[in-house]
């Protein structure tokens, strides 16, 4: 038997219906007086701040963000690993090369509709350029706005995700 099945016996006699009903009523009444758990969404939001009342997990994988180096240039070297590993095939990368031989992305687009937010792109990136972030409010008025280009990815400021580390599975 693969799963343990516990068959609960239906109580058949000497069952206290009245007392059980009253106990239930007392329980629901107690719950009426307890603090409410509903988050008042537009006013209260989940944040990456772990001390907040509604904390996002630091491993939350939301929409992407492209990091820049100290000179403000994008960190991406257009190595092509992220479009290679992307299981949803949602990253479009056209590499370019400047006069000094430094590679950079000419076009870097992520289709957030196709993205499955697995975080592999962040994991695979040797330059720590592309990240998934702790961001979740992504509504737009048109579908084509969901293809994030390089400029838009670079303009994001939300905290990035700390991916699950197999060497430290509990996040210690």
């Amino acid at each position: 038997m693969p799963i343990g099945i516990k068959v609960l016996k239906r109580p058949e006699q000497r069952v206290s219906y009245v007392r059980a009903a009253l106990k239930g009523m007392a329980l629901t009444f107690k719950h009426m007086l307890e603090p409410k758990v509903t988050m008042q969404y537009p006013e209260e939001k989940s944040t990456a701040d772990l001390r907040g009342a509604y904390a996002l997990s630091p491993r939350w994988r939301g929409t992407h963000r492209m990091m820049a180096d100290e000179q403000g240039r994008t960190k991406c070297v257009a190595c092509g690993l992220c479009p290679q590993i992307c299981p949803a095939n949602c990253i479009k990368l056209v590499p370019g090369e400047d006069a000094e031989g430094n590679r950079y992305p000419l076009i870097y687009e992520i289709d957030e509709f196709r993205c499955i937010f697995c975080g592999y792109c962040q994991e695979v990136c040797p330059e720590e350029a592309i990240h998934v972030g702790t961001h979740y409010e992504n509504a737009e008025y048109s579908r084509d706005r969901f293809v994030y280009d390089l400029e838009r990815l670079g303009a994001q400021v939300h905290p990035v995700s700390t991916l699950w580390d197999p060497a430290d599975p509990r996040g210690e």
Partner: protein, 416 residues
Amino acid sequence: MTPDVKGFLLLSTIKMLLVFTVLMIGVALLTLMERKVSAWMQNRRGPNRVGWAGLLQPAADGLKNIAKEETFPASANQLIFTLAPAMAFIPAALLSGVIPWASPLPVSFDARLPLIGTVSYHGMLSMAVVDLPVGFLFVIAISSLGVYGIALAGWSSNNKYSLLGGLRSSAQMVSYEVAMGMSLVPVLLLTGNVTFSAIIAAQQEGLWFVLPLFLSFFVFLVAGFAETNRLPFDLPEAESELVAGYHTEYSAMKFSMFPISEYANMATVSAMVVTLFFGGWDLPGPWAPGPGLGLTLLTAGAMFLKVLFFLYLFMWVRWTLPRFRYDQLMALGWKVMLPVALGYIMVTAFAIWALEHWVGVASPKLAMLILFGMNLLLAYGVFYRLDRGVIVSGSFRPPPPTAPPHRPTTAPAGGA
């Protein structure tokens, strides 16, 4: 018409409009209250976006329901399908007219009004729209009509779930109607009258009937839950089995009429419980002012609070108890409630007769106190039986006393 008749008609019309308006607004707010109470009991907040604390939520719901498309099932009986929501609602609305909502108001005026002419009214103005001499008999008769709306809604939808819901509702409501009617006989015995005003007067003189007639109150309350199809007895709806029961096929405002009638029924049943067993508008304590507008307003407030408590009880129970199984429902109705109500009639009748003729208790208060003592014993007995699950657990059959445990027989030897 004489000015007196005109005055009576005018005041009756005003009362009618007032009661109907208050009932409809109350029903709208009850839907909000239901959602709020359910939310609180589940540690949620409930609707709080439309208006202050969600107070305009019923208006938004109503607008939505009016603006929605009305659908007719192709094979439904169009006429009855359209009429059924009204048939469910009208009895519920009718009943609110006979319940006295406050103490009688002394009114005395002569006035000349345009178009109407001279109107006058002198005397105590009952705060029921009409203080019927048949009293609660009317209520029982009319509340039985509510089953037509639900049964016909289920039948005319031409849908198997609706039909099952309608059938269940008719069986359930007819069953509990019997217990409900029987549970009111002791009230009649104790009062000697069926009008609400006389019942309230008797309670003012003695005790609130919930004490001397506790078992009646209990049976009436349970039957009231069943009559209004509220949760421990909401088998007509039974969304886990019947989609939405009798109103599966309804949409828009026609659907909305069913919840409206359910809440109106709840309000009238609560008002009935309060009037029959909790003194109606009676204000306990010596600090009630003399007859006048102040007393009427105060008693209306007392009535409101009492009714509100029972409305809350309806919701409280709904969000606590699970639904009965169908056979449990029928067993409870016919095997518990009806015998209890019938037996209670006998016991009460005997007790009242004995108190009057053997003991000769003159004061109604003392007589009711003695009845209360008797009720404590009876209630203990009844609840003891209920509590042991001897009656309600419908599916229980005691196992045969000396049945040996079943063992698989070994295969007979020698089979080729």
